[in-house]
Amino acid sequence: MIENLHLIYEIIVWIFLLYSAFIFIIYCWVGIYAFGALKRYGSENQHTDYNLIATNSNTPSFSVIAPAYNEGMTIVDNVRSLLSLYYPNLEIIIVNDGSKDDSIEKLIEAYDLKGIAYHVEEVISTKSIRGVYKSENRAFRRLTVVDKVNGGKADALNVGINISKGQYIVCIDVDCILEQDALLKLAKPFLEQTEERLIACGGVIRLANNCRVENGKVVDVNLPKTWIGRFQALEYIRAFVLGRMAWSRASGLILISGAFGAFDKEIVLACGGYDSNTVGEDMELVVRMRRYMEDQNEKYKVINIPDPLCWTEVPESKAILKKQRNRWMRGTIEMLWKHRKLMFNPKYGKLGMVSLPYWFFFELLGSVVEFTGYCLLIIFLLLGIINWPFFFVLVSLVLASGILYSIYAILVDLLTDQVYTKRKDLSTLLLTAVLEPFFFHSTVVIAGVSGVRDYFKKQHGWGEMTRQGFQHSELKESFWKKNIDIITWGLKSYAPIGCVFLSLYMLSVGVEIWWYQQYLEIDVLPSTIGQLLLENTFFAFQLLTIVGLLYLILHYMNSFWSKLLACTVFAFVVTFQFVLFLYFVQSNNLLGADLFYYSTAEVNQILETSGVINIGNVSLLILVSSLCLIPLILASRKAWYIYPSVIMVLLGIIAFIVPEHKLSPEFKSSALLQSASVSKWNYFLKSNIDDYLANSSFANINFFNTEIKEVKSDYPFMRQEETQDVLGAYMQKSPSIPNLVIIVVEGLGHAYSSPKGYIGNFTPFIDSLKSHSLYWENNLSSSGRTFSVLPTILGSLPFAAHGFLEQEQFPLHFNLWNIFKHNNFTTSFFYGGDASFDYMSKYAESSLVDNIIDFKSFETTYNKLPSSGGESWGYEDQAVFDKMLNGLGAINKPYFNVVLTLSSHSPFLINRNAYYEKLVETQIERLNLNGKQKETALSYKKELASIMNTDEALQNFFAEYKTNPDYENTIFIITGDHSMPEIALQNKIDRYHVPLLVYSPLLTKTSTFRHTVSHFDVAPSIIAYYRNNYAIQTPSQVTWLGLGLHEGASRASGGIPIMQSKYQLEDYILSPYYLNRGSMYKLDGHLNEDVYKDEKIDTEIKKRFDIFNNKNKQLIEHKKLIPDSIYHSFFGSDKNLD
């Protein structure tokens, strides 16, 4: 699972990197190409005599069309500036688009206008015209004012086009100020056209904000006063000086600004004029005109000239700016959708193959990709998978590139147009370039994304674009009132959602309680139910508070997203609640962070072999999700009073404040019931948070400045090998080195493999061996799962972060495999399933085991375990033992084999199941169990049948082995990896209580040991035995955690850590004391535990546990157990192990 997350992370990172690389390349191209275009234009027009045009009555005629809506404040000034334009053949058409203010009245008064009869040839259909006005004053004979019914900017322009007489039309915003020679400069490209028809031409638009305007002329140029205006000034420089010029030169320009652009009227009419149904009518027209020319197969061009011809006012309020950018984005999408057939269509040349794809991928998707990047950043942050150095370097590069581009644009503009020539303005612009990424860019991105959203929500229209006029009056509204209203509305809308969630969640808890009563093998006590309800109630209110806060924050930006968040999160929580408690019933384990420590293949295998993945279950899951989501969605459409929300949040805050230990008093009940009473969601979240913190850099920060335990050495686990030989006294010396076979039985717990076990003895053969073996009755495994059994038994190794085998690379160390191999043993590992599970084969390979026999090595003559859901775990234990037996005799040197059984693993599907279940029943009768014990045993019939199967397989194995000459010279070690979690625990330590037998024909005497030992002690004692008795070479310095089977978990050993699962390292044993999740217990001679309170002992044990944890952390950080030199010097000339 972790691997898959990493893969997804890598793919996402690469997609963003490639996208950024493309943008970087495009901007480099724009910068360089635009510079060439500007240089060329400057050279070509350095000495142009525009008087040739101004004094020639045969120059092409232009019609300047300016639609106006509610422009009463500035319209008179604006028209005056238009009337002062230098151009011989010019008419000015002002189209009043049904203004609600006094625009038309002001014009009539100022310019002495009179309504006249005017025949309009409606080439393009428009809304109706109320009247046409001309001036009686000859000075204004160029001016025509049209009053029409409101129809939008596009419609107004179309009216102007219908009325116009000029050969070319210039469409402008009426509040724009044109340079007096603007039309002269604009006319020149039209006069210069030869083979390629010039159909549209734009000029540079500059910001009039804060400029001094007199009589319709800009007399003093200044940067805008506000930062938002300055940022836009910089944007316009980049867009017009670089962007438009580059695309113009490349014949790829598809946007002539609606604020100022000249068009060939004949082509505009042929295309049908402006489209009234789009908010991006300017870009849409240019694309349509280009499309028309491509369809007609006529040569044409669309260009932009870099002369600053037009001055306009930009929004200096964030709200209006956002509306503007929102509209621009919607216009872009509308245009791209309307002309989608041109995309990547070679018939349309550069338009289809370059311009439109560029606009789609980078202008449209740019905001979306960037916004997605921000969201993913937050997710990666929460998952703790950000590589900070990489992140900071990348962000710095992106910011620096943006700043470079802006600075370049400013300087290119300076060298060509010289608009902002004041030193102070230049300095401010440069500062603006540095600040823009931090204070402006995100606003534009979010506005763009909201434009995308609004497009799909079918929100049309321009929104209110309040004009300030050149007098700069501003609208103010109360900041506090606005925010209070938003919060109040947010709380009102959250209330029904929160209440529905609370109801659904508590209902799911009710179902959980009922399920336990039906399907748990033990009686559910009222106290358990009470505790479960209490914990879940606390959890629910805590969640309501957190989600509520997020809801309010999102609501501030957009209520749709906030409701979506709440409904999705709550529905997921309720649905997953079912998954959590069903998992608990199935496995008797709480699901925590260990979910993420299994690979997808492992999870798939577990799910498939357990048989939970089937159509019925999946359909049920979908049904439950729907049943949760529907009421939540319905609730999201309502709004109540704010009080329920406030109460929920307050209760949630109280729930956070109440200490956890107050919530969970000690239960005098079984571990299973204690686990059942825990809120499954709370446990899942907490374990993941704890795991995340443990793995993040925070784990190393000592917040409270407590004393840090000194780790004195770079190799804290390393020590001299001085293990006492405890086995030698019990064995006779063999003429040749004995073989060693370690058999690890899956799920072999003491509870059901010993007469003293609380279930009973269901392994008669193993039990019979004990009296012929050295038997440690109180042996403990090192974990509650199989993942750590091999490194513990074979290497006595610490856990690292999540089990020794989870490490990407194993640090060099000594284990039984490599030591015996160095001493000329043949080493093998036998397993009936996939040995790559839990990285077992990887460990064996790193130890250069000679033979790894797993499911791939078995012939078809062997029997697999029955499959569930189409998948079998692997080959039955009988097959595994048989495989091992078949390999005997082929080896002429001593061998060391490790066998791990499989049949007694969940879902406990074995061949001849009925036979073994009968055997269980027979054994139950034989054991003479009381009523309750019998009932308990019968409830675990499936599990016990599987263990009896393995027991019988072992019996046959030994019977067969006896016929082999190796038998007499072989030492057998039999143990379990952990107790079955599916069988209820009486004590917490029962999870780890497994038998340990050392059996051999070489034994001279047998014994049963009652002191507490662990799997950590096996390797040291074995090595000591072989060294002392057969002079094998062993390392002088080792990293064993255990001191040997004579010491076990005694005080002298320092204690032993136990890792319950891959993310839970919470158990520590210093016999007779047992520390479990911060609580202390005392163990008796049978490993029954009782709560124990002694501050001194508590402190000592915790201190020892801390020491171990610090050593373990050092291993995690440095990834070293021993110096390389010690490892290499031991293996010396043994090239295979060096």
Binding site: W14, H47, L52, E121, E192, F390, V393
Partner: protein
């Protein structure tokens, strides 16, 4: 952690290198920009200085300019010389006669001629154009031969400037290149060339005739402009033949030209060919009638008012107003009671107030 293509440490190093490069580029761009800003400021100052010097030279004579200390100090600077040339070229537009000759004297005195020659021979096309402009404006006849060779330059901007230079030097005779010209001349270039021609000698009429039947439409267009500018009535009949030219733009220009060189045959000819023409040509004819104020066309206009397309009806109505036929229009409006379309057009023409 390993990424799909390379480890994260390698990528970090790559991006760190790029970051350093970007920082260096920022510094370079700022440095370059600052240097050019300084240059621009200098150019502004130099322009003011040069204009002052030129004015003084025009007022007081150019003999002192050679010894001017300020200019002497600055002339070795290539950018200063470039600015000086630009100012001289711009100044040529403002000055004529003796003042213009002073400019030429300055040009030669300060050895800016060599600088202009260097530009002419430069590989860069824009420098070549600057060279042509300078040498042409300063009337360096020696350069004519070199400039003539540039008429075949692959860069159209160079060719246009060379064409313009030919006309500047040789007046109408400079148009010889039109004979073999197969690339179109833009309207802008036509304007420039036309503006530079001071007269059309009668001996060149056969040349003009030959150009009127050129395959290059833009050449015909230019020649018609020439005829219009100089009102060469002798070409009336030849231009009239162009009314049947397949290209509608030529026909429109022919109408305009015929209007400018109008004879008694012109308007009968217009009315004769009117019916077969496309809308734009008809408009041109009606506009020509309107401008000519030829009242012989009144009946024709009245017919067009009733029968023509709406855009032509409007022009016809407006022309009738100009020809003082207001009463006729008002009577027509009263007669054609039910014809709203005619009412609208007549009201439009009458500019009836509402």
């Amino acid at each position: 952690m390993n990424l799909l293509f390379g480890s994260i440490n390698e990528l970090t190093l790559v991006f760190l290198t790029l970051l350093i490069i970007v920082f260096i580029l920022i510094l370079l761009v700022m440095g370059y920009g600052y240097r050019n800003y300084q240059l621009l400021s200098s150019r502004r100052k130099w322009t003011t200085l040069i204009e002052t010097k030129i004015l003084l030279a025009i007022l007081n004579g150019s003999h002192h300019i050679q010894d001017d200390v300020e200019l002497k100090d600055l002339l070795p600077n290539k950018n200063f010389r470039d600015t000086f040339l630009s100012v001289l070229i711009e100044s040529e537009k403002k000055f004529s006669g003796d003042a213009y000759r002073v400019l030429i004297e300055i040009f030669h005195t300060l050895n800016l001629k060599d600088f202009a020659w260097a530009y002419l021979n430069h590989k860069d096309s824009f420098k070549k154009v600057q060279g042509i402009e300078a040498l042409t404006t300063m009337r360096v006849e020696d350069a004519l031969g070199d400039i003539q060779l540039l008429l075949n330059n692959p860069n159209p901007f160079v060719v246009a400037e060379a064409q313009y230079a030919m006309v500047r030097f040789k007046d109408f005779k400079g148009l010889e290149f039109l004979n073999l010209l197969h690339t179109p001349i833009s309207e802008w270039q036509q304007l420039r060339l036309l503006n530079s021609i001071s007269e059309v000698p009668a001996t060149s009429y056969s040349f003009i005739s030959s150009l009127l039947s050129h395959s290059n439409i833009s050449v015909i267009s230019f020649v018609l402009s020439l005829i219009r500018k100089f009102r060469i009535v002798a070409f009336h009949d030849e231009v009239a033949t162009l009314l049947e030219h397949p290209n509608s733009i030529v026909r429109i220009l022919a109408v305009r030209t015929l209007h400018d060189i109008e004879t008694e045959r012109t308007f009968p000819l217009f009315t004769q060919i009117y019916g077969q023409q496309i809308l734009n040509v008809k408009k041109a004819i009606l506009h020509a009638i309107r401008k000519s104020k030829n009242k012989n066309s009144i009946d024709f206009l009245k017919i067009e008012l009733i029968e023509g397309k709406p855009s032509l009806q409007i022009i016809a109505a407006e022309t009738l107003i100009e020809f003082k036929e207001k009463k006729y229009l008002q009577d027509l409006m009263n007669e054609e009671v039910s014809n709203e379309h005619i009412h609208s057009i007549i009201k439009h023409a009458l500019a009836v107030r509402i």
